[in-house]
Amino acid sequence: MQGKPARQQAVFLPERHCMPEENKGPEPVSPSPEGAKAPAETSPQVKSDTPAAKTAPATAAKTEEAKPTAAKAGEGAKPTAPATPKPAVPAAAKAAPAKPAGPVPEPWKCELVESLRKQYGSGIREASTYVGQKYLVVDSGITFEVLRRMRDDENYDYCVDITAVHWPKREQPFDLIYILYSFPQNERVRIKTQIAEGQPMQSAVNLWPTANWLEREVFDMFGIVFEGHPDLKRILLPDGWHGHPLRKDYNILQQDQEWVHINLGIESAQ
């Protein structure tokens, strides 16, 4: 307990999220959409990005390990473009035994994807599997339609989770992820969409009542607004709180000083 500041320095790494623009490079969320379009510029940027991103003292010594891994990820992004998973195999096989070979997203081909593509065209931006897990990236405008279709026609009757990821440098900074499961088919699929700051999404509560609290949590943590939600308010944080903690620009030590002062009668809750 002796060195509280020292402990903070050792473990809290807030600067990680304040990296300069060029370090952030391409958004790594779904390796393929950007990676598939411009594989040539993806891989070098990833390479230069990773060592620079190092802030943890423990990892600094291991910088050289980072390069091959990142390079492999970059290599992995290339073969996805021609839609043949074959080139990915040697990349995985090349991996030194001690190092994790970066798995590569592979195109997901099935009737469902075909018919979705037929109906929505380019609205279905990507259909891939990554380490055997299926996901669709769809336009935000048709997300609700796709969700409804998944529930009604494809038997995805159980909404496992709704969550979001914040990519502050991106034009549409939020990934919204719906994880669906089908009891009859025993299959899980993720529907992802990208939305802009302040862009409202249609609530899925009418499709799955479980979305109620899940969407409230996304609203609480990210500030994403769901239209048509019966009771959209904060769920884990108190009602009067300012800020959305799981956004990347919300520092881990940050808090709503005013709220803490008024409601707890103390200067700081840290």
Partner: protein
Amino acid sequence: MSDGKFNRPDLLDLDTKEETFLDTTEMVLNMGPQHPSTHGVLRVILKLDGEKVLGTECIIGYLHRGVEKIAENRTYAMFNPYVDRMDYVAAVSNGLGYCEAVEKLLAVEAPPRAQYIRVLMTELCRIASHQVWLGTHALDIGALTPVFYAFRDREEILKIFEKYCGARLTTHAFRIGGCIYETYEGFEQDVKVFCEKFLPKLDEYEELLTTNRIWVGRTKGVGILAAEDCIALGVTGPVLRASGVEWDLRKKQPYEAYSKFQFDIPTGLNGDTYDRYLVRIQEMRQSVRILQQAIEDIPSGPIMAKVPKVIKPALGEVYHSIEAPKGELGYYIVSDGSTQPYRVRVRPPSFVNLQALDKMVHGMLVADVVAVIGTLDIVLGEVDR
């Protein structure tokens, strides 16, 4: 009361009673957050008509510690102990889910011996978790004895945990890539002895409750949740199975060594509190079956896969879920290729299951709210994270 009506139950007319004693105005009552039957700091706002519940609203977040935010500021290995603090009565399951999710991201698999150790520990943990549920649930309803029995026998499991990894509750038993601790000398014997002794103890619990008139009266037909409601509300685990859906991730999407064991998925018929009680009791029996099989064929060999010292998964994201004692516990991890996870989302079974409370207690009595909170088996550390 002075007219002696209560001595003649056959004369008691509930409808006129309500008119005489209670006006029909709605009353709003706060239950918790400091209420022993809410199992932590859950606040339920009850809208009542007399003793009848018209609606509920759960206020949660009192235990919010920002686990998901912490994850983004820790390395993969450093975050591992934190997950134990979510569902603190089933810490081993939390750790298993997290380690497996990261392993999936790294494309490594724990060696067979580690998988068996993991199964053994997780099943012991499932029994321990169900014992906490049984004791507290029965205590809430007014049966005082089971809590002493359940906690007495749970102690044996905690002793095994302590011998194995030094901790009783927040165990941090597993590491990414396998287990860090080899089993101690006499571990097999301890588990065998526990299984032998525990089965008759389970019968003891059942003797106390299963045919107990008060217990049956307080649980049968209380908090009914139909299978389609369960699915619509995303409810999983024993609550879903008690509604008659035979769904267990250990069978449906086997992880670790679970595909090698023979066990059944107990299901209920009516989806009421009594069925959920029976399902959990049966689950403990099935866990003992798994333990007995696992301890017989536990292979020898390494317990740790080859995992780099510095864990740096490639760009990508993964969702992995396991069957925790409370239901589907999922981890959605996004890696940006650095040493720290870019995002860790925990899909907590308690949080999602608690949402069903309103549906389950609608039109029931206040006393049933206590029974239903108990039967949902929530842990507020996991609800609030």
